[in-house]
């Protein structure tokens, strides 16, 4: 028992492990929004709440929770708004589908235009041709 906990302690306190933990914490913090200064990620923000939440992320990852668990934890408290990549649901459907709808609409307009018969070029009379030739000389 003691040996096992010693080994665990070695693993958890090894620089490799903590480096990995820092990396994972930073990566996850990049994906979450700081609620105090809303256009910054948790990783970029120095607001006290962002520092607290980064510590939460680190603690929870260190305790063996997955990235998904931590995200769920944040969403349960602050809503989908904390996610920089919003999930697909009724409220965000237009956000996700909208651009594709616009693209489809564009294609539709393009096809309609291409499908249209080219307008008949009006005949040019002989007199006009001669006038044009004269002007071009």
């Amino acid at each position: 028992m003691r040996a096992a906990s010693l080994i665990l302690l070695c693993i958890f306190s090894s620089p490799v492990f903590s480096q990995d933990l820092e990396k994972r914490t930073a990566a996850l913090a990049q994906e979450l929004r700081c609620l105090v200064c809303q256009n910054q990620t948790l990783a970029d923000s120095n607001a006290p709440l962002a520092v607290d939440l980064r510590n939460q992320i680190r603690e929870q990852l260190a305790a063996g929770k997955s990235e998904g668990d931590v995200k769920d934890y944040m969403v349960a408290r602050y809503g989908d708004f904390v996610l920089y990549r919003p999930p697909f649901n009724a409220a965000t459907a237009l956000l996700w589908v909208g651009p594709f709808l616009l693209l489809l609409g564009g294609f539709f307009l393009l096809l309609r235009r291409l499908g249209r018969k080219p307008e008949a070029v009006p005949e040019i009379s002989e007199a006009d041709r001669e006038r044009a030739a004269k002007l071009l000389q």
Partner: protein, 175 residues
């Protein structure tokens, strides 16, 4: 005909953008509404040896107000919170958030203490559980311990009367 379509598309776009501009991006809808108030057991601000848990008020409608002495908007809403507490419509409990006792207690002495008592969340952990991000914040919790309303930012007399007082009355009237 073509012009009509263009104008219509343009008007639609303008309407969409106008609606978007009207939204307040700071108003993050709380996912906690309709959910049980997260559990806590915290020492009281004025009496560190006593604790309070949200469970202690099960069976009562109550108001939780998150405040701090370092938070200027808290001072702004203070008269509103005081009036709300004086109306005795429901117990108003304070959650002193990321503060120090030597700052918080004099703040209450200076400005008056409207709270039945305040609990002391020095590390802000309970604040995170309650999704606090812009102190002051105010919660209405029903008899079953479910969060029914949350307001972020300073309370105004309108919100206190039209939203909170009405809701508390409604909740108290219900079975």
């Amino acid at each position: 005909m073509k012009l009509a379509w263009t104008i219509m598309a343009f008007a639609l776009l303008v309407a969409l953008l106008a609606a978007g501009l009207g939204l307040d991006p700071r108003e993050v809808p709380s996912p906690l509404i309709g959910k049980p108030a997260p559990h806590f057991e915290l020492p009281l601000l004025a009496a560190p040896d006593k604790t309070f848990s949200q469970k202690d008020l099960l069976g009562k409608v109550w108001i939780l107000n998150v405040w701090a002495s370092w938070c200027p908007p808290c001072l702004v809403e203070h008269p509103v919170v005081t009036a709300l507490a004086k109306s005795r419509i429901a117990p108003v409990i304070g959650l002193n958030y990321k503060d120090a006792r030597e700052d918080a207690l004099p703040w209450l002495q200076r400005n008056g203490d409207p709270f039945q008592f305040s609990v002391f969340d020095a590390a802000g952990r309970i604040g995170i559980d309650y999704g606090v991000y812009g102190v002051p914040e105010t919660y209405v919790i029903d008899r079953k311990g479910v969060i029914r309303y949350k307001h972020i930012g300073p309370l105004t007399p309108e919100i206190a009367q039209k939203k909170i007082t009405l809701l508390v009355k409604e909740l108290n009237a219900g079975s």
